[in-house]
């Protein structure tokens, strides 16, 4: 029965019963035909025979009708077979399309459902056909939008296309369905059939959304690629170094601004040109050809190739060439990026520097030789001066001591002057020699542990005689916790003696001098001060220059060498200490402060 009904649908109005009706009508027409025939027969045959044959004719007619009926039945069967074929064909189409298809009658009851519908919506045929569409699969199709489509839009428009319905289906979850419908008016009768195609576009939507996203991303990438290329272009135009990019045929693609400026060429005579042809073929350089045609294809890059060439526009220059062969991501084209640096000036400077360096080295060697000669000279001079001084000082000492007989007062006084001058000369020689030794870095310290408290006291006793002679007051402030230090005893004593004798020398009779010593972290700090002539601020810078002498009524040329302070500073620094001289000005006295590390750092 179901099939019949289906046939009925598929035959589009040519159903059996209507066929019968049709044939009834035909039979009625046959009656007319019969009378017509009778008339024709009467015309063609003799009347008596006409009557005689009446029954026979009727029988024949009836037979014909029956025959025709049989034929009709045959035809119907044939048509049924055709219909079957058509039905099979349509069915196979319906079942072949992946898209779920459903056919509804005018009451929106399911007439037919494609196999894919069952598959997609996980329903069974027996619970589908004949059901109201909304009731399908636990009423999961009762979707307001679908109702609107089927009940409002379709009757008016007979068709709707691509209506999207998003719905939470109980069997398959939230899906987006694309609905297409056709309302088919049947040829006979007033029945309508609604063919509804349902396409699940959830995945497609997902893909589309993905595609959209990808498209947007691509846009962003494209934008950033544009930015990158803009950026690289601006880089190319910003770098001072001329840059040129070539295609695989070594024709110029782009050129940096600096290239134009540097080689004095114009864009219109550059881009698209073979590199060798640029600016009157001035770039046709064998070395460049070798680089671009031989080396680059093999290595894809070369760095710092020097090319010296006589350029028509800019003269003889040395160029430093760097190249990269860049494989473009899209397409197979290669681009060669060539950076050209003019190192002519740099070379000149380098050569100048090299020369200067050589000269400097020569000078340094010369200086070394001179320094050595100087210290050798000083050593020799010292030796040569000491030998006569040995006699001068020695004999005057013997005379002064009256070893071989007494002298009168004047003789004794004069011998004393000779002796004093001889000793001064000896001090001068020794200090000059020491200064030159320190300056030549040849002064060596002989380190030992120095008991500073007793050393300072010894020194003060050594000068006590001079102090009392000038009626000076000497104040000693030596901290109880003053530690022993590591130092060269003779040199530390020399520094202290120099400073104290200076203090005595430059302080007027009845003045004060003093010495303070204390521990300060890893050092000791010693200060020798006086209330003497001090140093005018404008002379402060000169006191370490050597041979600087303060001309005062208290000190005469014979006293002091002018080397004591600079030598003391150097000896302190040799120990790794610091040396300061402070004076508030002329006649304000002086404070000489210096430090000595407790543990020597062995400054060379």
């Amino acid at each position: 029965m179901k099939n019949k009904k289906r046939d009925k649908e598929l035959l589009k109005g040519r159903n059996f019963f209507e066929g019968i009706k049709f044939w009834h009508k035909q039979i009625a027409e046959l009656g007319d035909l019969k009378s017509k025939l009778k008339r024709n027969k009467a015309e063609s045959k003799k009347l008596p025979q006409k009557i005689q044959n009446q029954v026979e004719i009727r029988t024949v007619s009836e037979r014909m009708i029956i025959k025709q009926l049989h034929q009709e039945i045959e035809q119907r069967k044939k048509m049924e077979r055709v219909a079957q074929d058509v039905r099979n064909y349509a069915e196979s189409i319906i079942n072949t399309v992946r898209e779920p298809l459903i056919a509804l009658d005018q009451d929106l009851r399911v007439v037919y459902v494609s196999r894919s519908f069952y598959d997609v919506f996980k329903v069974k045929p027996e619970e589908t056909v004949g059901q109201l569409i909304y009731d399908l699969g636990n009423k999961q199709w009762d979707i307001p939008k679908l109702r609107e489509l089927l009940e409002t839009i379709l009757p008016k428009k007979t068709t709707f296309d691509n209506y999207e319905v998003e719905h939470d289906f109980s069997t398959i979850g939230r899906r987006i369905m694309l609905l297409n419908a056709r309302q088919i008016e049947r040829g006979m009768g007033k029945e309508r059939i609604i063919l509804l195609a349902i396409e699940d576009i959830t995945e497609r939507k997902g893909i589309e959304a993905g595609l959209e996203k990808t498209r947007k991303e691509l846009e962003v990438i494209k934008k950033s690629a544009d930015e990158v290329s803009e950026f690289s272009e601006s880089v190319i135009n910003t770098v001072r170094e001329p840059l040129i990019s070539l295609d695989k045929d070594l024709r110029v693609v782009t050129v940096s601004r600096s290239f134009y400026e540097f080689f004095k060429v114009k864009p219109e005579e550059t881009v698209g040109q073979l590199i060798y042809d640029l600016g009157n073929k001035q770039w046709d350089i064998p070395k460049l050809r070798e680089l671009l045609e031989t080396i680059l294809p093999q290595k894809t890059t070369f760095d710092n190739y020097e090319v010296e060439h006589d350029f028509a526009t800019i003269g003889r220059r040395i160029m430093l060439l760097n190249a990269r062969q860049i494989e473009r991501v899209l397409g197979k084209e290669r681009i060669i990026l060539l950076a050209i640096e003019d190192i002519t000036e740099r070379r000149k400077i380098e050569k100048g520097l090299e020369k200067a360096h050589e000269e400097l080295q020569g000078l340094a060697a010369e200086l070394k030789r001179a320094t050595r000669a100087k210290s050798e000279f000083l050593a020799n001079m010292s030796h040569e001066l000491r030998t006569p001084l040995n006699s001068i000082n020695g004999f005057s000492e013997i005379l002064y001591d009256e070893t071989f007989g007494s002298l009168n007062e004047k003789q004794k006084k004069y011998v004393e002057y000779v002796l004093t001058s001889g000793k001064h000369l000896l001090l001068l020689i020794n200090q000059i020699l020491d200064m030159s030794k320190v300056e030549a870095g040849k002064m060596k310290l002989t380190l030992s542990s120095l008991p500073m408290k007793s050393l300072l006291n010894d020194i003060s006793l050594l000068v006590a005689d001079m102090v009392s002679k000038k009626k000076l007051q000497m104040l000693l402030e030596i901290a109880e916790d003053l530690p022993n230090i590591e130092g060269d005893e003779l040199k530390v004593k020399e520094v202290l003696y120099n400073l104290l004798s200076n203090a005595i020398k430059f302080t007027p009779d009845g003045g004060k001098i003093g010495m303070r010593a204390k521990k300060a972290d890893a050092k000791i700090e010693i200060e020798v001060w006086d209330t003497g002539v001090g140093i005018a601020s404008e002379n402060m810078g000169k006191i370490f220059e050597g041979f600087f002498r303060v001309d005062t009524p208290y000190s005469r040329v014979t006293e002091g060498t002018g080397l004591g302070l600079p030598l003391s500073k150097k000896l302190v620094e040799l120990h790794g200490g610091k040396f300061f001289v402070e004076s508030e000005g002329l006649n304000k006295g002086i404070q000489v402060r210096f430090t000595l590390p407790i543990i020597s750092r062995k400054v060379v």
């Binding site: 050593a379 010292s382 030796h383 000491r386 040995n390 000082n393 020695g394 000492e397 071989f404």
Partner: protein, 122 residues
Amino acid sequence: MGKRALIVDDNGNNLMLEKDLLEVAGFEVLVAQDASSGIAIARKEKPDIVIMDVRLPDMRGSEAAKILRQDKETGNIPIVFVTASVMESELKEAKTIANSGFIGKPINTRTFVTEINQFIKG
């Protein structure tokens, strides 16, 4: 019981100064102005001490000292080098000789004899 000293120095003034100082102190003093005659006198006289300049006209004082050290009879005589030199190399030279000392020039006339006596005792 006077001690005998040999002074070897090419500078006559120095020779005289040192001789005076030692003679005042009771020394018998022998003198030589070059190394070879100094060595000859030392071998012959066998002094209690040799006072020698580092720079001598015919050889270095240290070389003369080595020669004296090789000789059995002069090998134990203390040697004092007297020099005006401040060069490290010359000081080192003196230090290579056993039983020797060093006095720098100019000499201190007031301590010279004491220093010499210390070397003889040592």
